[in-house]
């Protein structure tokens, strides 16, 4: 269909619930013909809108390659993506949902590390003594690399994590981690604490739009509507 507006919504988790709520508040009823597991959907009485349920990371990639016009995802995932992806996407609206912070966390027993400046020093000592670099487990390699370098920490290597990053320091795969946290309770439960100035990025749920989609007037109306009530 010409002028079909394709919208990406997270397929699971807290973000999905928040987005569905935003649609509800704006009286847009989402329909999934084949039930909750259907990854395609539509909006009642809006034939020009197609809903696609995707992983939050995928939503950003699909916006960049223009197979989505609008998507809901976390700011952390957008900022972590490559520059050529980011330059094709605009953040149209930030919502007070999905608030979380990407932080640097170390084992509680590292009492000699209070700030990133301490970490910088320990990282150099570690390399000198052990002839290898301090390892940082993370799902956010790009943001971590940039933040560490800006804080003077250059002697580290990244270990890519796909889940349960908190256990990495205690299973021998890293010495510290960076991870997203909303209350810090998961970190604390796993014997980790946040470095005093180790706050990398504050994230929240955002409505993101493909830059080229903004030219469509119907699209503009919809984006505006979804920005008013939430």
């Amino acid at each position: 269909m010409k002028d079909l507006i394709k919208i990406g919504i997270p397929s699971k988790g807290r973000l999905r619930k928040d987005v569905l709520n935003i649609f509800k508040k704006n009286k847009l009823k989402l329909i999934s013909k084949r039930g909750d597991r259907d990854l395609f959907g539509s909006v009642k009485a809006k034939k020009n809108i197609q809903i696609i349920y995707l992983h939050a990371r995928q939503i950003i990639e699909r916006l960049a390659d223009k197979s989505l016009d609008m998507g809901f995802s976390g700011l952390d995932l957008l900022k972590e993506s490559e520059i050529n992806i980011q330059k094709n996407i605009n953040v149209y609206k930030s919502y007070p949902y999905g608030k979380a912070t990407l932080v640097v966390a170390i084992p509680n027993d590292f009492i000699d590390i209070f700030s990133m400046a301490d970490l910088e020093e320990v990282a150099f000592e570690f390399k000198d003594k052990k002839k290898r670099r301090l390892r940082v487990a993370t799902k956010y390699p790009n943001l971590t690399r940039e933040f560490f370098y800006n804080k003077g920490v250059t002697q580290f290597s990244l270990v890519k994590s796909v889940g349960s990053t908190e256990v990495a320091p205690f299973t021998g795969s890293s010495e510290l981690i960076t991870d997203i946290t909303s209350t810090g309770s998961t970190l604390a439960a796993n014997n980790l604490r946040i470095i005093n100035d180790g706050y990398i990025l504050k994230s929240e749920l955002c409505m993101m739009v493909g830059k080229s989609s903004l030219k469509n007037k119907e699209f503009q109306k919809l984006a505006k509507l979804l920005s008013t009530k939430y």
Partner: protein, 347 residues
């Protein structure tokens, strides 16, 4: 003069000074670069994986590749070598080319360091004769003098190391100086909380490992830190001294006098002599020769550093730079320290 002819003439000049031509591989293991220059350097390299899953990259710098060659071929003793080719590096600035044509020459594994410094500068000057220019500046510095100054300042040892480690990073070094002027190191409330944990850890076996570090090493560093705090007032004074040191710039024949005057004025028990400077004349050919304390902004430089800027068609062009990097080969894995000094022409 066309670039190819220019390059051939420079190569001829270098060869006439007794340097031996070597070929360097175009791709190297990315791990060498990341281990040497840090994870952040990864964003500048063009890397890919080979059929075995090993990460390799296009050479981002010819000096590192040449030092790797010395190390991997288990070479010993003095080598005078030169090479030419392209280095490939990503840049945040769109105007920068990702391909850089370089001619480099180096003296590796020699014990006559001061004379080698002179020889590298003289070879650069001879090669420069192939370029058309109206005037220019040869700026010489020495990272060793900065190290000496830092060793004499009244700040905790860990701060001295920190300043030395980041001397080459303008922006971050400036941030460090600002921090030195303002904040004290220790937050007493945090220390109180951590002291309790400190006492708990003291009861445990110091060889117990926690996330790659032993309890012993954690306790030792905590103890050193609380016993050697830095006060903001002393930091202010030290920062002022460093800032004024980094402003020293003068004709090379005044360098000894200016530096010693500076040390005396700031009551620093130090004196330098002419041996730190490979040239004492203020004019070489069409170049003014200057001394500057702020030069050498490359992580691996350890001693003498220099750069040549020439004026050609009303443009100032940095055409050649070099210095001493005695720690590079050991950083790449050599058990012994191997002296190294070299320079490169960017074409």
């Amino acid at each position: 003069m066309k670039s190819k002819n220019l390059s051939e003439n420079i190569l001829r000049s270098v060869k006439s000074k007794g340097f031996k031509y070597i070929d360097l591989p175009s791709v190297i293991e990315a791990n060498h670069i990341v281990q040497r220059s840090g994870e952040n350097f990864r964003k500048f390299i063009f890397s890919f994986t080979d059929q075995e899953g090993k990460e390799i990259c296009l050479r981002p710098d010819l000096t590192i590749v040449s030092c790797l060659r010395y190390l991997e071929n288990n070479l010993k003793g003095k080598e005078k070598i030169f090479y030419s080719g392209q280095a490939y590096r990503k840049s945040q600035n769109k105007k920068d080319s990702i391909i850089r044509n370089q001619i480099g020459f180096e003296i590796l594994g020699s014990k006559d360091e001061k004379n080698d410094d002179k020889e590298i500068i003289n070879t650069s000057l001879k090669s420069l004769q192939n370029l058309k220019y109206s005037s220019g500046t040869l700026t010489i510095g020495n990272v060793e003098i900065f190290k000496l100054l830092i060793s004499k300042l009244e700040i905790p040892a860990r701060w001295k190391l920190r300043l030395l480690r980041h001397f080459w990073r303008d922006e971050y070094f400036n941030d460090l100086l600002k921090r030195l002027e303002t904040n004290a190191d220790i937050d007493p409330t945090v220390v109180e909380v951590d002291k309790k944990k400190f006492l708990d850890l003291l009861k445990q076996d110091p060889s117990t490992m926690i996330a790659g570090r032993s309890i012993g090493e954690i306790l030792k560093r905590f103890d050193t830190k609380i016993k050697d705090p830095r006060t903001a007032s002393k930091g202010k004074k030290v920062s002022k001294i460093i800032r004024s040191f980094l402003k020293i710039k003068c004709p090379i024949n005044n360098a000894v006098k200016e530096l010693n005057k500076f040390f005396k004025k700031n009551k620093i028990n130090l004196a330098v002599d002419q041996k730190y400077f490979p040239i004492s004349s203020n004019k070489v050919s069409k170049l003014n020769v200057m001394f500057s304390t702020s030069g050498g902004k490359l992580e691996y430089y350890t001693g003498m550093v220099f750069k040549i800027d020439i004026k050609s068609n009303s443009k100032i062009i940095n055409c050649c730079a070099g210095g001493r990097y005695d720690g590079l080969i050991s950083d790449l894995g050599s058990k012994k320290k191997v002296s190294a000094v070299g320079a490169a022409f960017n074409l």
